[in-house]
Symmetry: C2
């Protein structure tokens, strides 16, 4: 199987991603937040690419069972129920709820991947769940680093290092026949260079520094913990749910033990 | 000064690059070919983004002093005078000529950078010329890796490693106050990992392997030689010429010694 990496999602469109197998990686923080919400019993995540879409969709859903979550410049969007910090997505808040999810990069990358054959969401917190899923599938995968969408800068070191760790884990298993590309070999090299301390890497990253500046530094620790939220957010239809056999039986009926972050 | 890297040029547009200082890097092979052509006495390079533009522009220029050069899938474009191998751009062929230049990635990145404040073209072959120019300017620079423009894959390891070498050279000089970003730190790490043998890195790269497949393997050796063509291709108006004080006095009147590649 060929494992490729896209270091940003800016240049990708829905048609290019149609019928592909995709892992969307947005370590800070969309991947971590989606995993947390689903592990804490959220019924489903509905990723959208814009605030306009979020407002439009939420108009047709029942207020009591629907929440709007997301950020602009790292901060909660006006009129939304939740921001993009995993600490906000507690069991008390999200259990049984559908969450319309709108972030600057992560939810956009998920939304662009909506016609993928398989779409899973990955970060450090669910590393093994993603790696095991790819091993099961035994198909070509594209790991999409959500990166940054604003302006000239599209590369995020934390997403590249996370992709590199996924591929390193895959290639560690000698039974796997993994074909690499320029970008997947680069991702492995970046993981080897920066992966010794994930938390330190996050703290020195452009976006990690920004999050510390706006008082969200606590989130970095949560996003750095490998396999702390061992679930697999998995697209079914147009929403992202827990994969049935990833940890719990079915999040919508039998939520697994809450993750306290 | 802040040094940033864009690992592909797909998501960039002319307005974003307006008034920026830009180095366009396309190691295989546009950067190397442009440097070779100018060192061998070509009057100017006119980079264009499409074959249509090349045809349109060449219609208004005199045939005797104008050549069309470029490639699609690594091969010469039908009706063009030259492909994209530096070996074709000999003194006998290019001296005194304007070259309309159309490649899949490199000339597109140059064309998108046309409104930059400064635009220079860099590769391994003119590493020191580029690094010295940035040191002289003492301004923020964006190194644009031309990468790949077709389909999902936009990252080219050889361009990233070359950008990393440029930044490593800059930061080596303790007198330089260089501010790094996620992407420039990643580029340095990739240079440290893959830069020990540039030729080996080119031979194992996706595009290097393709060039060997189509019989262009000789070009890899030329593109790998550090400082072998010590000139600075520099945008003046809408064309790329030799910078007046980079090696020779002025390429159009006093061409410097021909580079035999």
């Amino acid at each position: 199987m060929r494992i490729d990496v896209s270091f940003s999602s800016n240049h990708l469109d829905e048609l290019q991603l149609r019928d592909r197998n995709v892992v969307v990686v947005d370590v800070l923080r969309a991947s971590t937040t989606v995993a947390t919400a689903l592990a804490n019993g959220s019924r489903e995540i509905i990723p959208v690419a814009s605030i306009e879409s979020a407002v439009k969709i939420s108009g047709s859903l029942f207020g009591e069972v629907t929440l709007r979550g997301g950020e602009r410049n790292g901060k909660i969007i006006e009129g939304f129920n939740l921001g993009n910090s995993p600490r906000e997505y507690t069991e008390a808040t999200v259990r049984g709820k559908s969450i319309i999810f709108c972030t600057t990069n992560g939810s956009v990358a998920m939304s662009r991947s909506r016609y993928a054959r398989r779409l899973v969401v990955g970060g450090f917190v669910n590393m093994s769940a993603v790696v095991n899923f790819i091993k099961e599938e035994q198909s070509d995968f594209l790991i999409i680093c959500a990166g940054k969408s604003n302006g000239l800068r599209s590369f995020s070191i934390e997403d590249a290092v996370c992709a590199g760790m996924m591929i390193s884990e895959l290639t560690k298993d000698k039974g796997q026949d993994v074909e690499l590309t320029d970008s997947s070999r680069a991702a492995i090299a970046l993981f080897k260079t920066f992966g010794r301390s994930i938390l330190k890497m996050l703290k020195t990253s452009d976006h990690g520094q920004y999050l510390e500046e706006i008082g969200m530094g606590e989130d970095l620790k949560i996003c750095a913990e490998i396999d702390s939220i061992p679930v697999l957010p998995f697209q079914q239809g147009t929403v992202i749910k827990l994969r049935r056999d990833s940890g719990s039986a079915d999040a919508t009926t039998e939520p697994q033990a809450a993750v306290n972050v």
